[in-house]
């Protein structure tokens, strides 16, 4: 093994993947990878939207640790910065505006493509997966000129699952050929239903979920093509590929849509696969967090742990010390965060999960074993509440 590849898919719910039990065949390619992967069944995101979650994924830190900033604080250390210093080539390709150079995520990369200099379509304001793949292909073709190339860390991120939910026709047909919507119709649904958080009509919410599912199916093909590119340049056999998301998405499960400042299962539970061509299928049921990804990458490169990182490598599985996860965000209730919105936190230990919302000082606690959808609030009836409150408070006031 020589290289580490981090493939993140924005807004990908864990429960849409076949390898996590979905029956709708939305991710045939990703599912096929599980035979050669460690599949984590209890992976958690550190936050319910990009800005809250990516500090975990790329800097192994929590969102509000350095105050409420829109930009990636210079006090955070990116995995790319640590790796570059160790002589590993670092390359990142994505099209999420919140992760662009302007917001400070371009540190430590030898190659950083954030698409901000490129034109995007008017309806879908990001570069689609095929465009991202082309960039990766171009870069690899020049990088792998001889067999003695330096090891690299490649981060690729797809946006295609993310709203406005305008999947390509081909994939919509695979999910439900009876859906007869034009791109304009879909954009209208995004503006009128999603942005207004209007869940009054169950049928429309179900329709939107199908558009979302089609985006998942489309992205599965981008992942497939991505692997083809890796094979074409002969780097797949030399690489470990980590596949995960930054957060999920809501379709009315907790009376909302999209991904606001909430901490429920549909937003926080993450798919997490670690693929290696020579790996035999394994399941990791440890409670892990995306804050553990940067330390894991260091471990995979055989590098010493970094003091800058809060998490622990989740490999080797048997050495993983934690049985708890924490996350924080601003409890925003629409796409737009208001200055007056207050933080929200979650803390999980084994099957218990507690959520604290600062705006109204409200508490929720769920037993995930009995209530995986997090609908039955136990805070006033469980004898564990006091203990869990204490534990989450010690995280918040760290």
């Amino acid at each position: 093994m020589k290289n580490v590849i981090l493939l993140t898919i924005d807004t990908l719910r864990k429960d849409v993947l076949g390898c996590y039990g979905n029956q709708n065949k939305l991710t045939p390619f990703i599912d096929s990878l599980q035979n050669k992967s460690i599949k984590f069944t209890n992976a958690q995101s550190t936050g319910p939207y990009t800005q809250a979650s990516f500090p975990g994924i790329l800097t192994s830190s929590y969102y509000l640790e350095y105050g409420r900033q829109k930009k990636c604080s210079p006090k955070r250390t990116l995995i790319s910065e640590v790796l570059k210093k160790s002589g590993i080539t670092t390359a990142g390709f994505h099209s999420n505006p919140y992760l662009c150079g302007y917001f400070g995520w371009n540190r430590g990369w030898d190659v950083f493509y954030d698409s901000m200099q490129d034109e995007v379509s008017d309806k879908i304001p990001y570069i689609k997966g095929d465009g991202i793949n082309r960039k990766v292909d171009q870069w690899l073709s020049s990088y792998i000129e001889d067999d003695h190339y330096r090891p690299f860390f490649l981060w690729t991120h797809y946006m295609d699952v993310h709203e406005p939910y305008i999947p390509a026709r081909e994939y919509l047909n695979k999910v439900d050929p009876s859906i007869n919507l034009s791109e304009d119709d879909m954009l209208d649904l995004f503006k009128e239903i999603i942005l207004k958080r209007d869940i009054s009509d169950q049928k429309t919410v179900k329709l939107l979920k199908k558009l979302y599912d089609a985006g998942v199916r489309e992205t599965d093909d981008y992942v497939k093509n991505f692997f083809k590119i890796l094979e074409k340049y002969g780097v797949l056999k030399d690489s470990v590929v980590i596949i995960t998301t930054d957060h999920g998405d809501e379709f009315g499960e907790h009376h909302g849509l999209s991904h606001d400042g909430k901490m429920y299962a549909e937003l926080i539970n993450s798919p997490l696969l670690i693929y290696y061509y020579n790996c035999t299928q394994e399941v990791g049921d440890n409670l892990v967090s995306n804050i553990d990804i940067p330390p894991t990458i260091l471990y995979l490169f055989g590098l010493e742990p970094s003091e800058a990182f809060k998490g622990h490598s989740f490999l080797p599985l048997e050495n993983y010390p934690q049985k708890r996860a924490f996350g924080e965000a601003i409890g925003k209730t629409s796409n737009q965060e208001k200055e007056t919105d207050q933080p929200i936190y979650f803390y999980r230990e084994n099957d218990l999960k507690i959520i604290y919302q600062e705006s109204d000082k409200s508490w929720e606690m769920y037993n995930l074993n009995e209530d995986p959808q997090e609908l039955n609030n136990l805070i006033n009836i469980s004898d564990k509440s006091k203990d869990m409150k204490k534990k989450i408070m010690s995280q918040i006031t760290r």
Binding site: P97, Y98, F103, M116, Q117, P125, E163
Partner: protein, 275 residues
């Protein structure tokens, strides 16, 4: 400066002058206007147009600058000083209605209902439908009202047919195919007009070579590290303390100060409903 650089400079300027002469053949100078931000590109542009006017004995068209309400004092000083030196009757354009509603204070909230009819109509045109927005360079609505609207209004009221701009092809990949003259059809609240960029073929390096070769004035902010100047709150120096022309112009994007990237990012985030 090398002989090659000097020869190249002569060619660059001659090409620009050709474009300017061509413009004055097609358009009545009285119906032309020159935009000038006080930045290096538009200063070079103005310098070239002014030379053609002197050579051809043509009156200099109206020179305009847009006050976005968030200008660097260094830029304002520069505009005032050079206007005097070059005998330019500079017209300062500004959306006063908007400044009034936020007491000219950056960051203050502007209530849409307090704005005049035109400003409200413009907000509707760009599908902005919130009740208020903060007055800041990065706010989409604010940016539109303070810049685009002001310019459109000027074109309309002065019957301007041709606007001299200072775009450069090397600024972004998307501009590679740009032509010197671009015609803008009339749209809702947008008057018909043509834009011309005589320095389209200059690179950032050419601008600095030209500036030094001919001793052109420039805003002192370039000397302390800024490579691209926009609104105060959204421009950052490239390498602090290193003059723009001594920085790695060829390899580090001019907008490493990131004004344009910021605008792009904000625009995309707005489309996703986040702004």
């Amino acid at each position: 400066m090398s002989k090659e650089t000097k020869e190249r400079n002569v060619e660059l300027i001659e090409k620009s002058k050709e474009v300017v002469r061509d413009a004055f053949e097609k358009y009545d100078p009285a119906k032309c206007a020159i935009t000038w931000t006080g930045g290096k590109d538009s200063t070079t542009n103005l310098w070239i147009i002014r030379q053609v006017c002197i050579e051809e004995n043509i009156g200099l068209p109206q020179v305009i600058t847009i006050d976005e309400g968030d200008a660097f004092p260094e830029i304002t000083d520069f505009l005032v000083t050079i206007s005097k030196k070059w005998h330019i009757d500079l017209k300062w354009l500004c959306n006063f209605d908007m400044l009034k509603s936020c007491q000219s204070h950056l960051g203050n909230d502007i209530q849409v209902k307090d704005l005049d009819e035109r400003n409200q109509a413009e907000l509707k045109r760009i599908e902005f439908n919130l009740k208020s927005f903060p007055f800041e360079a990065e706010s989409y609505a604010g940016n539109h009202l303070m810049k685009t609207v002001v310019l459109n209004k000027f074109i309309e009221e002065s019957n301007t047919e041709l606007l001299f701009m200072a775009l450069r092809r090397d600024e972004q990949a998307a501009r590679k195919e740009d032509e010197y003259f671009t015609h803008h059809e009339a749209g809702h609240l947008m008057p018909e007009h043509t834009r011309v960029s005589p320095i389209l073929h200059f690179t950032e390096r050419d601008i600095w070579d030209n500036t030094h070769l001919h001793n052109l004035p420039y805003c002192p902010l370039y000397k302390i590290g800024y490579r691209s100047l926009g609104a105060r709150t959204s421009s950052n120096p490239g390498e602090v303390g290193v003059p723009a022309w001594e920085q790695d112009i060829e390899n580090v994007p001019e907008r490493a100060g990131r004004r344009q990237d910021k605008e792009k990012a904000m625009e995309r985030l707005r489309k996703l409903g986040y702004m």
